[in-house]
């Protein structure tokens, strides 16, 4: 095989690998609404939170009774979690202190219940 033919073959191989990556990415995109997207949805929820607190069952139930909503992504995890995103005012009666660092830590992911204090809307205005 000449150098020219080898170069052409290498280009074809790169193009094949590129098309393969595109197909894999398109497949992943189609799965995003299913379990493939669970971690994205967990991260997206945490991205909205300025602070996070591990909370008792009673605290979560009190927030839900007051109108807060458990984020559905908690139902996608096993064991199931209850994640509630609330305003600082809503959280103030139930949690205090520095809370947990908002990142994908073992500590945060191990918490059965999380009260997530949302950023103020003004903080998220570009």
């Amino acid at each position: 095989m000449s150098d020219h033919e080898a170069a052409i073959q290498a280009l074809h191989e790169r193009a094949r690998a590129f098309r393969s990556r595109i197909q894999v990415r398109a497949w992943e995109q189609r799965q995003i609404e299913g379990s493939k997207g669970t971690w994205y949805r967990v991260r997206r929820l945490l991205a909205r939170a300025e602070r996070a607190y591990a909370a008792s069952d009673e605290a979560i139930e009190e927030l839900v009774a007051a109108g807060a909503r458990c984020d559905p992504v908690g139902e996608e995890l096993e064991p199931r979690k209850r994640y509630v995103l609330v305003t600082a005012a809503q959280a103030s009666r139930l949690v205090s202190g520095p809370g947990l660092v908002v990142r994908l830590s073992a500590e945060l992911l191990a918490a059965k219940n999380l009260v997530l204090v949302a950023f103020e809307p003004s903080a998220l205005t570009p």
Binding site: R25, A26, E28, Q29, I32, Y40, R43, R44, L46, A47, R48, E50, V101, V102, R103, L104, F119, A123, L124, T125, P126
Partner: protein, 149 residues
Amino acid sequence: MPTFRQRLIATLRAARPVLEVDGVLVAGSEVPNLLERGAASTPPSELDDGFRVPVPRNAGLLLEKLVTERSGIKGDRDLLVALGLLMVAEPADIDELGGAYARLPADLKQTVRSNLTILTLLERLPDMPNPTQERARVGALLERLERSA
């Protein structure tokens, strides 16, 4: 001991003949240092003696960093470079980024948004922008891109 920026500039000066060739751009992770506010804010970046370092537009480079899927420390560092670019971005850069993002196919838009969520949850690395102090800024960009998705 020279700082990173001093060493970077010395390297760029040494490469000056190459950088003066039309079409050559400096596009690596050193770009945020060149775009540092008060040092040189618009491309091509101009150093103290008038030597102009050709760099990509902020929005294009930022989107390139966000649209690339990587993992591990290399991936984290790339996202922190994106954060550095975001920290020096002007409103016009964000508008330009939004326009470029809107033209991406759905799967690449998802990659961009996914990378931004990762960036909001990263820990601080030495000598890199501190992501824990910029979570709201990244969240604001994420909200904006979601609204246009």
